[in-house]
Subunit: 259 residues, 4 copies
């Protein structure tokens, strides 16, 4: 049975990649798009000719689609997600900008409604698997450090994925004493400290987006590395989300948690 | 409740490391050792003073221990494992040399007897996790190659772990077409071909034992690497096996399958 | 003093990158372009308004430029290089397709004429430095293996740069005995053998163009790695060639030999 | 012609490795040893039977050896080096602890006496070549960061070799503007800052001693990595020093400067 998809933000770069992806999947069909600025001409945006284009949430009938893919803006993502959850549509959210409090509220709503959904800060499968594996490895290797490497134009550090990885490791590793008596003869050289997990951010021209997690144990080491060369890579994760989201019974945060 | 351990091959290098490990674990106790050559002086081998030392299988009472750790020889491992399985002791086998047919027979016996046990060709946690993660990643990244690197004295290639990894990937990845029209202008340069997964073996002085699995997808890459610097690393895997083996209901092959 | 540059093949992708590069360098000036197909409208191709456009070699006056940059085609590169060498212009050749015999003849002409020039199969500075360093390291580490990794669409293996690197190592390393008694249980797993140096070619989607040289010695290892993410990287090598070519007294093969 | 070697500190671990090395080299001969504590029994320390053993500097005749290898203590290395330089013996100093001022004074003495010599903080050839190559690459890739990785017991950071590498890069790279407007949302995450070169120190169990230098440029990257698995690796550098030291005309700091 074909699943019906609504794409919020279908005119943007990620939205258009999603349009192309869903069009290529035999078991999915685009039935609608949401955009406050789009013309009412579906084919201009490579949507099926009979897809409906909506300008605002209040125009959208409940249950018009099975899945709501969202690549919109930080200012609209909260309202969009809430609307989907309360109108029988499973949200798959790639838009960033939700606060922790908003996420918790949305999860609570989803549990009450028994409505499936997914919020994924990162749809790159290599990054998602890195996080999943790091979380598992931490059970056996409590000693871990993270090195992330990005192009020189990325001005903030650490990357969101590196910080998420550190959080997952911290949550999963056994109680662990860290070295109390280290000496830095050059300030900062041991990196940033997230609950005992050191994070190192490299910024160099030429690089794109890369992350390594290094685990060390008695006489051995384990390293997990991912390289993102191109945002096209996100679409493999969106595909996985489309295929898996309706097996959930509430809103899940993180693609790594539904693999 | 303290679990009772018998160590077969307690006089060897790995056996002695196991003795030290079990002595350090509060929830485990060495009650016996098996060795055709040892003197009957437990403390000489760092065993508890009241541990029993047996010379041959027929001297060992059924149920004397909960767990049988085996670091013996290829010629005795089959009889030892069978004895443990049929005398109510869960075998944890680090000895190599069992044939595929012998393994199958032992598994069948374990299922009939509902007897837990584990055969682990590799107890290094970094190698074990690499295999586990490679197996999972293959579902999302069907394109994979393996590079293993060992010291120059290792004359055979590929390594057993590399081949095991390739088998796990082959079994788990989706149906996948591989490039039919490659041209090698230097024979062998594309590596060994295990069901479409290329394996590359590097042999260099200085290196110890290392393996990388490279996955490539649309615009991204994922790499899992493990480094073994020292056989001491095996003991972390033995510890995991001791803790988990009695949760099984039959003989399992591969530590990665009980994590 | 400003140096005058002629660009052969200025309409192509690499030619246009070269136009942009030379326009950005204060000490260099484009005075002419060679193209059998271009319109006689310099500004259309971002050339200075007074640059001359030539359709064929015989139209070009001797000495019109100091340097001849060539990104043309395999069928014209030999004639172009010979013309430059014999008309007082230092060729900087990025076009591939010259045979070994043609290269030798051109070098001989350059020596007779005492004419500077450079043929560079690879202008990527990371690849060029990798080759230079590998050549130096081989004096101290005779044991080396090469791993090159390219996108899955590259059907031939090994890459030209990998083979060039192996040749440089073979020429520079001390007399060296290699293991005679290796056993491949999977055919090809030890890679391609260039005079005792093993080359391994990885082909995976997502990857772009990467090469590693691994050296191993007593208790230590040295690895040199380069990653090419974008052909834009070639322009840093062209800039180096422009700056250094007139310090030569004959035609040199390989940018790594003039650093 | 056989060169005569005196080994200061021949009873220590590195001293004994040096004894074994020199004994294995046909063109070198141990003629003397210096140790305040050794017995006067050369063969006990694997010295040739006719080697002389001295307790203190004042007992050593001028010119007794061509080369003075020193693996002693921080408190004696200055006097030893000065003695060698002023008594016609080329010092090869592996002992650490000389201050910058002492090094400068010793170099000045060597120039006045035209006496060859070498001070090498690190004799590992992989580390030495890494420093040499990093210094060369910096001319073409001014953007560089350093990651060094050591076992968890190393309490100080960064490593001496990492800092030396940063100094060499800073000295050799062209004038270079670094990002002024970076934001660290986790303090220290961008590493230690040595004149614009970021250094990151990883400390994990299992690791031994490793360093990477990462260079990034337009569309490409170059990485140089060295791994020290065993102090045995130092002997390859001592051998190079023995072979090259007498070609110098003064005291040189750093093995990388005589390759």
């Amino acid at each position: 049975m074909t699943k019906k998809v609504l794409i919020a933000g279908f005119t943007g770069a990620m939205g258009q990649k999603t349009v192309a992806l869903v069009n290529s999947l035999p078991d999915f069909e685009i039935v609608a798009g949401l955009s406050p600025i789009a013309e009412h001409d579906p084919e201009k945006y490579h949507l099926p000719a009979d897809a409906q284009i909506f300008e605002k949430l209040s125009d959208i009938p409940a249950g018009i689609a099975d899945i709501w893919v969202d690549f919109t803006t930080p200012s609209s993502v909260y309202d969009n997600t809430k609307f989907a959850l309360t109108h029988g549509i499973a949200p798959v959210i790639g838009t960033t900008g939700l606060t922790d409090a908003q996420q918790e509220e949305l999860v609570a709503i989803s549990k009450e409604k028994k409505q499936a959904g997914l919020i994924a800060p990162n749809f790159g499968m290599s990054a998602v698997l890195l996080m999943k594996f790091a979380q598992e490895a931490a059970k056996y290797f409590p000693d871990a450090e993270i090195i992330e490497m990005h192009h020189a134009d990325k001005k903030d550090a650490p990357s969101g994925t590196a910080l998420s990885t550190a959080k997952l490791i911290a949550k999963n590793r056994p109680e662990h004493e860290t070295a109390p008596d280290e000496i830095e003869s050059l300030n900062g050289v041991r990196g940033g400290d997230y609950r005992g997990i050191r994070i190192h951010s490299v910024r160099l021209p030429g690089y794109i987006a890369h992350e390594q997690v290094l685990f060390g144990g008695n006489g051995e080491a384990l390293t997990i590395r991912q390289d993102s060369f191109d945002r096209q890579s996100f679409m493999s994760g969106v595909k996985v989300a489309l295929e898996k989201v309706d097996q959930l019974d509430h809103l899940v945060i993180g693609l790594e948690n539904i693999l």
